[in-house]
Subunit: 286 residues, 2 copies
């Protein structure tokens, strides 16, 4: 599976910019992964009904990204602001086949709501569960950003046969946070995703955005998205990693036999104590 | 919570050696953690009924470690070869209170069985579930070695109110494995445990053994236990780490308010999609 992860910053011509990068990446990759909500600024930095405008052309968005996949003959993982009905929106990854057809979609299941990441205002939580998407390049375990922090999500994808975990992401720093805290946050973000590769013996590809985006409400100065998009092999080893500041295309080839090798050597799935896992479906064990 | 992790190698006088180290550590710690099966060599390197001899004095072992806890007025996490009945054995962590009483026990739930780690021959899998142990220093989420690889185990302990995860461990390298593979294994081992701290916002303390122990069956040369015992804070940051080769006592103070701070800032427990986690109790989603 030859894949590419595209890391970009928001600009007025973002769709043209990304489409050009997809064209370039398609020379060396069959699967191309874009970052979370790549068509727009990360509008969730503040709560404002005006921002639902970013979902108003959703059907045209599908047509556009379908054409990008078809013209470049690649499988394309996009991240869109899905308008499902008036007043009902999702944060949804649409996956397009090489012929432009829709291979499947994943609606973000875990929705954050933290200062400057007010996603619960914009997005209804996903109702499609944790199900990978079959494509011509393999079975893709597409999850989105906040899902990164949940070992339950990655496990369920792996158990449904996902051959790779894919995380379109928009995460960064507030200027108000100190330097040591920001370094620690980046470490935690990479570490938790490495753990998904390790626990499940599958590769991981994560696309994050870069660039500083202001908070129009002026509550905060804004968010500096920290880039550092990466690709891990089935051992959790970094095989590609982007910078914090530059637009980049990461390339890697991940091999199915690495998953078998990892799981045969360290057979974690053999020994899960499923009869004692029932309480995982509780909110808390009190 | 002031704690110490003791990393030792096996020797003929191992119990005296460890008791002396506990005495030293007790000057600066209220909670002391020993490595997996610290009384014996790691006999699981081969399958031999003769090795059940290491469990034959189990009741005396309890008396001995009780006295070590009582004399030093510390909470002591031990790791014993428990003889429960003739032909029924467990790999069990007994936790002793400052007065020498038994605070509780945890029977290893996930039992490995890999070349040179033939634990399924020796140990019946635990039947006490994933339940933390209440002590005068706090609620301890004691797990053992192979449990390290299971995010389900750490999650269940955290959800039951564990204030710290504790992993007595015996893990190392076979000489037959190459250098890059051994470095990768160490990375995976530390990373997966950091992920438990990060996902759950609680500290982690892991005691591993050091030293080369031969394989008496001569199937392998033997295992070089890789040490590197460590303590993580609730952010998953390393606050203490031992060498690969030396006997050491690691000290750290972990603070309850760090758990609250971590969970308030990144409230992963708030957003778990428990209604969609049911399949975690399946063997595979096919």
């Amino acid at each position: 599976m030859k894949l590419a992860v595209i890391q970009t910053k928001y600009s007025e011509n973002v769709n043209i910019n990304i489409a050009e990068k997809v064209k370039e990446a398609s020379k060396n990759a069959d699967l191309i992964i874009l970052q979370e909500l790549h068509q727009s600024p990360y509008f969730c930095v503040t709560e404002d009904v005006k921002n639902f405008k970013y979902a108003q052309n959703f059907e045209n968005d599908l047509v556009f990204w379908s054409s990008v996949a078809r013209e470049n003959k690649i499988v394309l993982v996009t991240s869109l602001f899905e308008k499902r009905a008036e007043g009902l929106y999702h944060n949804t990854a649409y996956v397009f086949e090489r012929d432009g057809s829709i291979a499947g979609k994943y609606r973000k299941m875990h929705i954050p709501d933290d200062p400057a990441y007010y996603e619960k205002f914009y997005f209804t939580e996903g109702d499609l569960g944790f199900n990978p998407i079959d494509t011509s390049v393999g079975r893709l375990g597409v999850l989105i950003c906040w899902d990164q922090w949940y070992p339950e999500a990655s496990r369920l994808m792996a158990m449904a046969g996902a051959e790779i975990l894919i995380y379109p992401t928009a995460i960064g720093w507030l200027e108000e946070e100190g330097e040591s805290e920001t370094a620690s946050q980046l470490m935690r973000w990479i570490t938790i995703q490495k753990s998904h590769a390790i626990a499940n013996g599958i590769p991981v590809a994560t696309a994050n955005r870069i660039g500083f985006e202001i908070d129009p409400s002026k509550t905060y100065k804004g968010i500096t998205f920290w880039g550092n998009s990466f690709i891990l092999n089935a051992k959790g080893e970094e095989i590609a990693r982007a910078s914090a500041n530059n637009e980049e295309i990461l390339y890697a080839e991940v091999k199915r036999e690495e998953t078998r090798e990892m799981r045969d050597i360290w057979p974690f799935f053999r020994d899960r104590r499923i009869e004692d896992y029932k309480d995982l479906t509780k909110r808390w064990r009190d």
